[in-house]
Symmetry: D2
Subunit: 139 residues, 4 copies
């Protein structure tokens, strides 16, 4: 049996500043929403509102090495948004995180995406993810 | 007796994208947070999650004519933020909205500010705030 | 012989607001830089500073349907950035645009990416790219 | 005779991401433009493209303590923007910077504003502006 990765959901409202002159949410906002999904994942999994900030406190960082997004439908100001986030792969020195962004009221899929990350120490060197952090990512 | 304007509070987490190379939240993010406070005010007062979007649906807009902010203390990634928003003045064709941004965990004041707005119709002309909207602003 | 697509370069300075608490430019800023590269492509190819805005004036839009980026090295405040942009594919109803972001002073590659687009009319329907615009994209 | 402070101008194009659903540039973008004007001031006055980054290299920072803006007319995608920036006051531990944002093609004033700053050292303490930096600000 394959383990199903634990997903975390976070909901928020579209910010007016995130819209553009086409009247819809600008595509770059979803990249920030992915990050907010990632933050929510860490907050919920660590049961601590500082979440990923705790990892940075220890001098480790997940730098972003890649991002991809596919836009399916538009979001507008007045919409409530749900980001579903799960860690789809963990490697010695990095991880892949997946996202599904939808409209809370209609359930419609808006955007799917992934980010890839490497673990850096405070000198900016790529290092293995510390064991206690890797354990959390895999749980 | 002077009426105390009704304030609405909304809480959210600092987004990593909102931080800057000083390690703190960039001052422009607070301007977006003011707007999010304003959005929350409309959502709560109208008891409808679309809030201010309903006013735009009717062809009226509150354009921003001025903004001011005074920064008192820094916010960081990992902090939870509270924006307290109230309408401090309503005029025939506009309004002034006030904001108090604080750290939820410590209660510390981070930033105070105001925005001024004029009411525009869909042709971009300054017009009187429609009566039923003015009533909501004053309630 | 295969035609080499014409590339357009645009240079600008990192904005402080684009940095994050890691001290480097936030990954979402590159998505905005891609768009700025795309804008520069249209401005230069149309020899008109309004560029792509002219296409919107005619009621056509290139909505973003996908984005991908691979981050190779970090940019910092104080760096001057070059975005090289070319249209790597044109289809009846859409196009793919490619980007190479580098550091002007060192020539170092910072980021590579692509965006995909469909052509919409003013009602939001996917339509064929108008012939005179397709001709410009292919030139 | 009173000295007229030296102003620096920088021009750039509106980014699509800076527009909002009203079809105009979002008011928070001007706060980022003010900062870009400030960056341009330092780059030109120091005759070094790293500009203000050189001050941060020495461990000094100008934290923003206040911002105000008055919006006069809207900017749109396709507009070229000019930010005129000058240092309107220098104090022992801080400064005030003023901005005038206009449309390059028409010369129309779009926005006026000011930011206030205090000088911090690398520990985040408010300190006197180092003499050689104060001299540059006053020149």
């Amino acid at each position: 049996m394959e383990a199903v990765p634990l997903a975390v959901e976070t909901d928020f409202d579209v910010r007016y500043a995130e819209t553009d002159a086409m009247g819809i949410v600008h595509h770059s906002a979803y990249i920030v929403w992915f990050e907010e999904g990632r933050s929510a994942w860490f907050r919920e999994r660590l049961a601590d509102h500082r979440g990923y900030a705790l990892m940075e406190d220890e001098g480790y960082f997940f730098a972003v090495t890649g991002v991809s997004a596919r836009y399916v439908a538009a979001a507008r100001y007045g919409d409530r948004i749900r980001v579903r986030t799960w860690i789809s792969a963990v490697r010695s020195r990095g991880m892949t995180v997946s996202y599904r962004v939808s409209n809370v009221a209609t359930g419609q899929l808006l955007c799917k995406g992934q980010t890839t990350h490497v673990c850096l120490d405070q000198h900016g060197h790529v290092v293995a993810i510390p064991v206690h952090w890797a354990a959390k990512l895999l749980s």
